[in-house]
């Protein structure tokens, strides 16, 4: 049964349909919140809040406007933005550390790699974590969650062209960051040289 059918049933009052949607998407939602917030505890809370919001507002989901997954990830992204705003405010008030010592590769929440060396995977996660949020989210949504640029634009509230630009700039930056992770990538950095291209 498709997500959209389940969402319709859930909106009509079937708790089983909602739990099936939860089971299908909890990992994707948690991975998105984890990679945006870079803190396992905050990511779990944000994922939970996202599902609660989806549960409360599932009647508003319109399958003609996009996939259920996009709608759910939009909620999760919105929740992450809220958490980040609150965290920034706490930092401003002197009550915490914005990064939260939140290197998920170190905190044990590192994702298992598929065809990547362990070092390569950790370095790539670190480089991704250092990307500014406006570039990281489009890359995550399109490359890891498989959304189209139009769906990604709908999630982030920007145009498809803007998504393409951000994906490009994000990868340009990622190229620099990935090449500068010390010390394992020293060889990679030497091989790649300074980032350039598409800039004249």
């Amino acid at each position: 049964m498709t997500d959209e059918n389940l969402a319709r049933q859930a909106a009509e009052g079937s708790p089983d349909a909602f739990w099936e949607l939860y089971r299908r998407h909890r990992t994707a939602v948690f991975n998105l919140t984890l990679r945006i917030l870079r803190d396992a505890g905050l990511a779990e809370d944000a994922a939970h809040e996202s599902f609660l919001a989806a549960y409360e507002h599932i009647g508003r989901y319109d399958e003609h406007r996009g996939k259920f997954m996009s709608w759910l990830l939009a909620i999760a992204h919105h929740e992450c933005c809220r958490v980040r705003r609150r965290r920034r405010w706490l930092v401003f008030m002197g009550g915490g550390d914005e990064e939260g010592a939140a290197d998920m590769a170190v905190s044990g929440a590192v994702a298992p790699q598929r065809g990547l060396g362990a070092d390569e995977s950790v370095d790539l996660e670190r480089a991704l974590a250092r990307l500014p949020e406006k570039f990281r989210s489009p890359i995550l949504l399109t490359k890891l969650h498989g959304l189209s640029v139009a769906e990604c634009g709908a999630v982030l509230g920007i145009s498809a062209t803007n998504v393409k630009q951000r994906v490009f700039r994000g990868f340009q930056l990622l190229r620099l960051l990935y090449g500068s992770v010390e010390p394992r990538a020293a060889g990679r950095r030497a091989a790649s040289g300074p980032a350039g291209g598409f800039d004249r």
Binding site: G13, F30, Y55, Q113, I139, Q172, G197, F198
Partner: protein
């Protein structure tokens, strides 16, 4: 065409959403620009690496904690979605009770401050004055409560009740 103008098209290729036209524009540009060729090769390689980052499993106890939060939120939602008549009665009675408490308290203060009442034909009857004030308070509070309740019921009928999810 300038290298910079290729950025969105390369972004489309990287996000696997480029159409034939965008792809051919990029290829045409790359055919005549060695500087961009190197950068493009590296970007493509990174673009292939990122999806290989696996999905981290949810932490242990994630589902149980969500079930607990979910149950708590549902209980709160049920409490909020109780019968509208209970709310209406509460809205009318609660201000009345509050007004009685305030009026009785005021009377008690008045009695303490003015222990000896002047007696005589021209003297004010503090008992009657107090009773009138009390009745006025209660009436005003209850009218306010009724007005609030009517407003809320009109709003609810216009907007529909707040969504109760899967209740």
């Amino acid at each position: 065409m300038k290298c910079r103008e290729m950025q969105a098209a390369v972004g489309a290729v990287l996000s696997a959403s480029a159409g034939d036209a965008e792809r051919s524009r990029v290829e045409t540009h790359l055919a005549g620009c060695t500087r961009c060729q190197d950068a493009y090769a590296e970007l493509l390689r990174l673009g292939e690496l990122v999806p290989r980052l696996g999905a981290g499993e949810v932490p242990r106890g994630f589902d149980q904690r969500f079930a607990a939060v979910f149950a708590a939120r549902r209980a709160a939602s049920r409490a909020a979605a109780r019968s509208p008549w209970v709310d209406t009665v509460a809205r009318v009675v609660r201000p009345g009770v509050a007004a009685v408490v305030v009026a009785v308290g005021s009377m008690a203060v008045l009695c303490v401050l003015v222990p000896e009442q002047p007696v005589g034909p021209g003297a004010p009857d503090l008992g009657r004055l107090g009773a009138t004030l009390l009745a006025g308070f209660v009436l005003a509070a209850m009218v306010q409560g009724v007005r609030q309740a009517v407003d809320v019921r009109i709003l609810v009928s216009l907007r529909g009740r707040p969504e109760g999810g899967l209740e």
